[in-house]
Subunit: 228 residues, 2 copies
């Protein structure tokens, strides 16, 4: 059974990606990164998603990106925008090099467990402002991965897969639903409360809600009482 | 004054690289990574080196690579070899994707502080067995960096510099000595004690000692009493 490392955030994109990797027959080594994000609800969600979708194991690596800062997600002094999704601008929720750092950790994990594939839930449609969610970035990372490791030097090629990169949120939801993803376990909100309930007004909540609407699938998200 | 991020390990290669960056006129933002290595003496050394060589500031980012393991440096169950430097094999002190992870953190820091250059003390001569110390790796990382960040998308090119990559250890020592590096502050040993004293027998100690011998420069390394 081929092994794959799947970066699992606790959101619905990476949950769907995990389900896709399982459907391809991979033994999935899920990897989540505790990078000092505003809340830990998404890591709790990741644990539940990994279990629901039959990951072989689930590892959480801590990296303190608050030491670097520069984002609303890692610096409490920068507020999370709640007034609507901006167009044609990189939002303050962008974390400097976060996806590069997470893929680098996935690369180390892939080498340690002997995985041939890394699955990554980047999406270029809804997050068009994020440079590290574009196909050109994924291709550059795969090129790097294939010169960076002992495995690569020994001739074992590593694939970096981003199977939902060009799908709309609605299509990701439809795909996940077919594969049996329990979306009620996932947390997308940038500022969920301790119980994993969503704010309903940050960019991530707005994009998620619109995705369920468009997909014609009932939204199982638990929202905070104040905003319902 | 242009800004540069310098990855600073506390060893002599990165100390020399920091001195080179200063000599080029950069304001240096030193970055060290606490990745769960066997001892913290090298991080103490990094603090002292940053101060001695006039870094503008020094940041330490923690990332728990022990969660991944797979190396003698991050897994206490794997012993550090002390019987001599092996030829044509990647040693067990290789940490899966470590340099990719450290460069990714440097990339995030560079973006957060607005740096144009990342300096990296890789050396392809003494560590020929490490895939992530080769020029092809540095080039691939630079290519990635220039599609990965908000700065790159906005047209600010980032340079990834490895100025000692093709120098012998003796030449690095000669270069550092000219630039005023106080090598007595640096720690290269894979298993230094709490006071930063070297074991004298691990690969890193052997390569360092031979470098001072060849350079004809007195070795200021403090060794543990048992092995002197």
């Amino acid at each position: 059974m081929e092994k794959a490392v799947v970066l699992l955030s606790g959101g619905l994109d990476s949950a769907t990606v995990l389900a896709l990797a399982r459907a391809e027959g991979f033994a999935v080594h899920a990897l989540s990164v505790d990078y000092g994000q505003r809340h830990s609800a998404e890591l709790v969600a990741a644990v539940q998603v990994a279990r629901q979708l039959g990951a072989a194991d689930h590892t959480v690596v801590a990296v303190d990106l608050r030491a670097i800062g520069g984002s609303a997600l890692t610096d409490d002094a920068i507020a999370v925008p709640t007034s609507g999704v901006a167009v044609d601008a990189i939002p303050v929720t962008y974390v400097p090099a976060r996806n590069t750092i997470m893929l680098a950790l996935a690369l180390g994990h892939a080498e340690a467990v002997g995985a041939s594939d890394i699955f990554y839930g980047a999406n270029a449609v809804d997050y068009s402002g994020y440079p590290d969610c574009r196909p050109v970035f994924v291709d550059a990372f795969e090129a790097l991965a294939n010169v960076a490791t002992k495995a690569a030097v020994e001739g074992r090629r590593l694939r970096v897969r981003a199977p939902v990169i060009d799908l709309s949120k609605a299509d990701i939801i439809r795909r996940g639903a077919v594969l049996g993803v329990d979306f009620s376990l996932t947390v997308s909100c940038y500022q969920a409360d301790d119980e994993g309930r969503a704010c309903g007004v940050c960019d991530s909540c707005r994009i998620r809600k619109a995705g369920f609407d468009t997909a014609g699938i009932s939204d199982p998200t638990r929202y905070q009482p104040a905003v319902v």
